[in-house]
């Protein structure tokens, strides 16, 4: 299970922002995953990291991983030239409960590098658009330059069946969109809290504030889902690093409901 799979081939790499790259990897055989799941990517001789799958779950021959260059392994992966073979294990972890969201409004909230793990859920919801009432995407980043998937965001904005609100913490000369924090967007969009489901990924602080805004509007605790992050080394629920209270995030997460997390998420150093 450690590295006994055939390597994947890096078919294309696309720079999304100054520090973020999307790798299009070709698996040796068609690869099936659920939105929200992750793979372990191996940079030869340097190490392995968990990376969420950021592409369309309908696409099984080229699997996208969007990586932010924050450490030795992610740096090596971001710099990998196309054609290189990369070790991949997966898919691991829980997925976005799209079925739970059916019949009501679906609110997708992303902060920073949190958009890539949500993108497969957006594709899936758009593919089965009739299963949901309102579909809302709220996305925040630090500055306009840090926004990911800007071309796609523009296309999504043009759709009548998807509400897209993008905000940045700090605007610049050319930015004509929202400036402000993600939790403030919750109060600006129209949705039906009683039947709404929210999926959320972002820095933990942003998620805690955003959850509060959602709960204040009346979204039930068990319909708010978060993707959490901890140290992850084996992805097989063996190595013990990804513990968050009673959860092993590689097995029970990364996607958990706020009801499951409520006791733990506001504790320091848990």
């Amino acid at each position: 299970m450690w590295a006994d799979t055939e390597p994947w081939r890096l078919a294309a790499a696309r720079r999304e922002s100054a520090d973020t790259v999307t790798l299009g990897l070709e698996p040796p055989a068609p690869f099936v995953f659920d939105p929200g799941q992750f793979n372990m990517l191996y940079a030869a001789g340097i190490g392995e990291v968990p990376i969420s799958i950021s592409g369309d779950p309908g696409q099984r021959t080229r699997i996208l991983h969007t990586i932010r260059d924050v450490g030795a392994v992610t740096h090596a992966l971001c710099a990998t030239p196309p054609g290189t073979e990369i070790g991949v294990r997966g898919p691991y972890g829980s997925h976005w409960p799209l079925h739970t969201a059916e019949g009501g409004d679906l609110i997708i909230v992303a902060g920073g590098i949190g958009l890539p793990p949500l993108r497969p859920a957006i594709y899936q919801a758009l593919r089965h658009r009739d299963r949901y009432q309102r579909l809302v995407l709220l996305y925040g980043a630090r500055t306009p330059r840090d926004l990911l998937f800007t071309g796609e965001l523009a296309r999504w904005r043009g759709r009548f069946d998807l509400t897209v609100e993008v905000t940045v913490d700090v605007g610049d000369r050319d930015w004509r969109g929202n400036v402000g924090v993600v939790p403030d967007l919750i109060g600006r969009v129209t949705f039906e809290p009683g039947t709404a489901t929210a999926f959320m990924v972002g820095p933990e602080i942003m998620m805690r504030f955003t959850v509060r805004a959602l709960l204040e509007r009346g979204v039930p605790e068990d319909r708010v889902f978060l993707s959490m992050e901890r140290n992850m080394q084996c992805a097989a629920a063996l190595c013990g690093h990804c513990q968050l209270g009673p959860f092993l995030l590689c097995r029970d997460g990364p996607v958990l409901s706020y009801r499951q997390l409520a006791r733990w998420i506001s504790l320091r150093e848990i």
Partner: protein
């Protein structure tokens, strides 16, 4: 003319739940206003003697720094209120430039006029103060979250 503004006031999120009796009183201090895109609704340092209930469009609160150009700290849009300096003692000046990103339609309220009415009717004063306290707290919390720079690289 003031009568025509009452429905606009009643329909704005900021006055939701206010005793309708006060609306004519407030409308007496109000006027309809429009700011074209690219203009400034107000400038940093100018006397702040009004506030805007935004009905449409987008306004950026900016601060200019030499060599950096304008930095937007917040944008305001439909349902938002621009300005609470007029209400707060010793703070009757705009803290930021209000640059119009998209043509603004708003109800403009005269600060001196409203302060007079609040002084005469403390209950109205309390109602308005309550609303601005929520607004100021929301802004403060959002500002703190921005200061945390949660998306930035750590270390």
């Amino acid at each position: 003319m003031p009568q025509t503004l009452e429905p606009l006031l009643r329909g704005h999120a900021f006055f939701a739940g206010l005793d309708p009796e006060y609306l004519p009183l407030i409308a007496g201090c109000a006027k309809n206003t429009v700011f074209p895109a690219g203009r400034f609704a107000f400038r940093e340092g100018d006397p702040a003697d009004m506030f805007l209930l935004i009905r449409d469009g987008m306004l950026a609160l900016e601060v200019a720094a030499p060599g950096r150009g304008p930095i937007t700290v917040q944008t305001l849009t439909v349902g938002d209120v621009a300005g609470f300096s007029w209400l707060i003692e010793r703070h009757h000046r705009w803290q930021f430039d209000g640059r119009v990103i998209e043509r603004i339609r708003a109800v403009e309220l005269d600060g001196a006029c409203l302060r007079g009415k609040c002084a005469a009717d403390p209950e109205l004063g309390y109602e308005l103060m309550r609303r601005f306290a929520v607004l100021a707290t929301d802004r403060l919390q959002a500002t703190r979250l921005q200061l945390l720079d949660v998306y930035g690289h750590v270390g």
